[in-house]
């Protein structure tokens, strides 16, 4: 169902204190019939435009909605425009976007709805040009600035936002607890979060029920908690999966903690050991310098400085999980990796896909044939039924000819940025996570229409069912 885009109105009209602060919610409740959608409103609107819309609404939709529009018009007429008006705010928002599943506030656009097209992500204007990294979890996200500030938003039910409560927050909020630290790296898991500081400390918060906070217990925490295990050792990178976490130390060692069911945190001491809440060394790497680590779902991966890729945890190909790092794709010199829940993207000049998208509506092979329809019934069954036939390395059918400079993966969708700064998405689209204006799935990368006219490079990042694009520092 379409809805009145009141968020634009909210930004455009200077309301007096106390008047219709939660305009979006009120509108939704005032329009129980859900039909008679008015045309999109110009923004910013003046009092006359709002009155005109109010007039048309009186004829087309529920009267309470029209009354509200009239009040907005009165407020617009009464409130003088400040020097830094609504237009500036709108303009300022055009440097960070989000789209896809939004019911926990994970789009950071002030609302709790799914959006099929890029929405302004409400990071503070002072962060413009300073965001160095965004990471998405199950339904929350973390943004890091190049001077070490951290913002979180979305689902907070397990304390994963680090604000000292369990609330969902629909817009980015500074993590005050970390204000006295300079954060250098962040990572979001399903319901947990990790932060490392310039002095090498590790802080974790959120769901700890599988030991994924590494704190030696299975408690959840709603404020960042320092993981004492690494005291005195310098954290370089972190990565968070569904129920596990990986740590790369400056001394080149890789540690894991949390769920161990699929081998994602290394070898289990016994078959009965299902999780570890104390960090444990993951060995088995050859003599090499690890430069990055990755986690999503029950998968783990690491990349060394020569571009060798190591994968462990739940099987991406076949059915055999692996509890120690194995070199994958030895013939490729890999520069970037992005993990989903059943697939991995591997950038090595060309872009490759390992594994398959598992949601039943997007079978790459089924969608890839000429008719665009499954050619036979077996093509629509998932990889679980067909362990080896389709779960292989394939070149991503990206025919645009542009160089791929950055990649990202959600659970069942993927995104890339080209050298020219265009964002493309593909995979599962049921919640609008592809940002193409609908809920279709796509087997090959599709260009996302981001109204981005300013110079500078874009970064694209994925949470489980949502996507974020930000103008980089």
């Amino acid at each position: 169902m379409e809805r009145v885009d009141i968020s634009r109105l909210k930004m455009s009209v200077n309301l007096e204190p106390g008047t219709f602060k939660r305009g979006q919610t009120k509108i939704k409740h005032a329009n129980p019939m859900g039909h008679g959608i008015p045309p999109p409103l110009p923004s910013p609107i003046g009092p006359q435009q709002a009155l005109a819309v109010a007039d048309s609404l009186t004829r087309t939709v529920a009267r309470p909605l029209a009354l509200l529009m009239e009040k907005l018009a009165v407020a617009a007429a009464a409130a003088p425009r400040e020097g830094r008006g609504a237009e500036d705010d709108e303009e300022a928002a055009e440097w960070a976007w989000s789209w896809g599943a939004g019911t926990d506030g994970q789009l950071g656009n002030g609302g709790f709805d799914d959006h099929y097209l890029p929405q302004p992500l409400l990071l503070p204007t002072r962060c413009r040009g300073r965001v160095s990294l965004v990471t998405g979890g199950g339904a929350h996200a973390i943004a890091l600035t190049n001077d070490g500030e951290v913002f979180t938003w979305g689902r907070g039910t397990h304390g994963q936002l680090g604000h000292g409560n369990l609330e969902n927050i629909p817009q980015p909020k500074l993590v005050k607890f970390l204000e006295n630290h300079t954060i250098t790296y962040v990572s979001a898991g399903w319901n947990h979060s990790g932060f490392s500081t310039d002095s090498g400390q590790l802080f974790m918060c959120g769901d700890g029920s599988f030991g994924q906070l590494g704190t030696g217990d299975n408690h959840s925490r709603n404020l960042p908690f320092e993981v004492a295990y690494f005291n005195g050792r310098h954290i370089d990178k972190l990565a968070s999966g569904m129920r596990h976490s990986l740590i790369l130390l400056k001394d080149n060692s890789v540690y894991g903690f949390g769920s161990a069911r699929r081998g994602q945190v290394g070898k289990c001491v016994s078959r009965n050991q299902k999780s570890y809440n104390v960090p444990r060394l993951i060995d088995g790497f050859p003599n090499c310098k690890i430069v990055n680590i990755y986690a999503n779902g029950d998968h783990s991966a690491a990349l060394d400085e020569s571009g060798h890729l190591y994968i462990w945890g739940r099987a991406l190909i076949g059915e055999q999980d692996d509890d120690q790092p194995r070199e994958a794709l030895p013939s490729l010199r890999v520069s970037q990796v992005a993990l989903g829940w059943h697939h991995a993207l591997v950038l090595s000049g060309e872009l490759y896909n390992l594994g398959v998208y598992r949601h039943q509506k997007c079978d790459l092979h089924a969608l890839g044939n000429a008719a665009g329809k499954p050619s036979n019934t077996s093509a629509t069954s998932n990889s679980h039924d067909r362990p080896s036939s389709l779960s292989t390395l394939e070149k991503v059918p990206f025919i645009d000819g542009e160089r791929v400079v950055q990649i990202a993966s959600g659970t069942e969708h993927s995104a890339l940025v080209t050298g020219k700064g265009s964002v493309f998405t593909w995979g599962w689209g049921e919640h609008g996570q592809l940002g193409l204006g609908d809920t279709s799935d796509h087997a090959s990368p599709q260009r996302v229409d981001i109204r981005d006219n300013a110079p500078g490079s874009l970064g694209v990042y994925c949470g489980s069912g949502f996507t974020v694009a930000v103008k980089l520092a």
């Binding site: 925490r221 509506k361 069954s381 998932n382 679980h384 039924d385 489980s464 069912g465």
Partner: protein, 81 residues
């Protein structure tokens, strides 16, 4: 339509509020199957937010007369500073 994935009941989490076993759904919500479902031999856990569903692997005898979740419930979120 085929199941998104197959999950053993012991890998699901008991959610007292929902009175259901849950498992993360790729959309961000949770696949859910209630104790009543399990008693009746249901094998499908659905996500309330999307079209995907899971096949749940469990021993039906464990749930035939179950009034409480027979598996150790996961600790509920504790607000620990």
């Amino acid at each position: 339509m085929s199941a998104y994935d197959e999950v053993e009941i012991e890998d699901m989490e008991w959610n007292a509020e929902l009175k259901a076993y849950t498992y993360p759904c790729p959309c961000g919500d949770l696949f859910q199957i209630t104790l009543d479902d399990l008693r009746l031999g249901e094998e499908i856990a659905r996500c309330p937010s999307c079209s995907l569903f899971l096949t749940v692997v469990y021993n039906a005898e464990d749930f035939a007369d179950a009034k409480e979740p027979p598996h150790k419930p996961s600790p509920s979120p504790v607000a620990v500073a």
